[in-house]
Symmetry: C2
Subunit: 256 residues, 2 copies
DNA sequence: AACATCGTTTCAATATATGAAACACACAAT
DNA sequence: ATTGTGTGTTTCATATATTGAAACGATGTT
């Protein structure tokens, strides 16, 4: 633990090594990766294991993230500075577009619904704040994938297309087709989900940049197919982009 | 921090105070609740806040769980001792019933899909391991609610029915109707979701007891309405119960 | 102005963390 | 069977981080 002094910091520095890509670590290999003494790391792992934050497989003696962390994560209500700042803009967009508006972030190849504002006239949509879907399956996720740096994008795509779920017959689950779609999205500056996630549902999404011009979230409007005419798309995109720009002004360098 | 010695333990003891029911704490009130020195608690909170594990609202100066914990929670792959032990039983049930089988746990009024085995002949279902739904909306969740201790049940029900989502026209969202349904489930020993979560989808679920005879999970079979005839229900329930009994033998006193 | 309350910072004393080394165990090579 | 290698776990003297009482700063009330 070269630079970190407090045990709290050290604890979470250790947990940071447990990713989807490398979810299991032995004591010695983790200590090597961290550049720390083996017995120190062992003691952290053992404590975290007793608490259920980590799980140790008895046969391999490797550690992975445990159920307790999952449970703690499910308590998070996403009522954060980010939501406090963005929610009023969502309300504006929803009243302008008169459809359901979502804001979402990308985490571990999944798109997480961070906030949602329903329009009185809008479709009642089953998405739940805090819930998630594979990123390729919705416009919100596709936009975020489209703006990933190239190094990350191909790795993320290959994970996503390993055993994809086709939610509808329109869902894009093939790597090549998805890559082509992402290039188009990057070029257009917005994404459309044409019943790829749910039959009868159309969704248009735009990227939200922070003040570093880094894409950190996406903003969408969702409604029934019969209401999303091609001629309305540019109007909806324009409104969403106004909302995204207003959010950019508000959130500074926030990077979730 | 009266009894806990290591900082790792202390850190997670603090996080344990942040629940859905009381999600926000000021420094002083948390220190009082813990029975610990105010400045000690402040330093933990400040460190956790810098890491994004907690979020401090600038106006109220109260702390709540932050996005980083959410993100860490979403990395958990639920590949735990529990899943390792139960998965073979799920495979057996799925091949016997020839429908999709799930095992789920109840956390914060939501039912979380912990594992899923699809039968080749079974319906392709959109549920994702790690995803969740409100407990009232599925048979898996209703079973878990039905077996909650009375003290917990009414509180849980009142939270759930505050602003319920009606997934379909069949979803039970009214507190009284739900309570009546739960009594019936407790009496029958199983639950049926008759298109309450998704139109066209039927789900039968039974409780899984651990060796303390405490209900710790539920096991279900899901399929299309046209395949779940009333005359098959008792056969399905019997197979699910055999699976649940076999799981009980395997998991000992496990309590997630 | 004085007082109360909350969050934040300081610093000497103390408790916990650290790392080198030893130990225990499993497996592979000879 | 013996030796060597590698991993995870434990021990103990020393180093370092933590602790708590007290002070400080800010806000609100009387």
């Amino acid at each position: 633990m070269k630079e970190l002094k407090s045990s709290v910091n050290k604890t979470f520095a250790i947990l940071e090594y447990f990713t989807i890509q490398k979810s299991e670590w032995g004591v010695t290999e983790l200590a090597d990766a961290i550049g720390s003494n083996k017995s120190t790391v062992y003691r952290f792992l053992a404590d975290l294991c007793r608490l259920g934050i980590l799980y140790k497989d008895p046969s391999t003696e490797k550690y992975s993230l445990g159920l307790k962390l999952f449970e703690l994560g499910s308590r998070v209500q996403l009522k954060s500075a980010f939501v406090e700042k963005t929610h009023p803009e969502l309300v504006k967009v929803a009243s302008s577009i008169t459809e359901t508006v979502h804001i979402a972030i990308l985490k571990n190849q999944r798109v997480f619904y961070v906030d949602k504002v329903e329009s009185p006239q809008g479709l009642k949509i089953s998405s739940h704040i805090g819930s998630s879907n594979p990123a390729y399956s919705t416009a919100l996720g596709k936009v975020l994938l489209a703006y990933l740096p190239e190094e990350n994008q191909s790795q993320t795509l290959s994970v996503l297309t390993q055993s994809p779920i086709a939610y509808t017959k329109h869902t894009i689950t093939n790597g090549k087709a998805l890559l082509k779609e992402l290039k188009k999205i990057k070029n257009d500056g917005f994404a459309i989900d044409r019943e790829e996630f749910e039959l009868g549902l159309i969704c248009i999404a735009v990227p939200i940049f922070n003040q570093n011009n880094k894409v950190i979230a996406s903003l969408s409007a969702s409604g029934p197919a019969n209401r999303f005419q091609e001629k309305n798309v540019s109007k909806y995109v324009s409104t969403l982009k106004k909302g995204a720009d207003a959010i950019q002004e508000k959130i500074g360098f926030f990077n979730p």
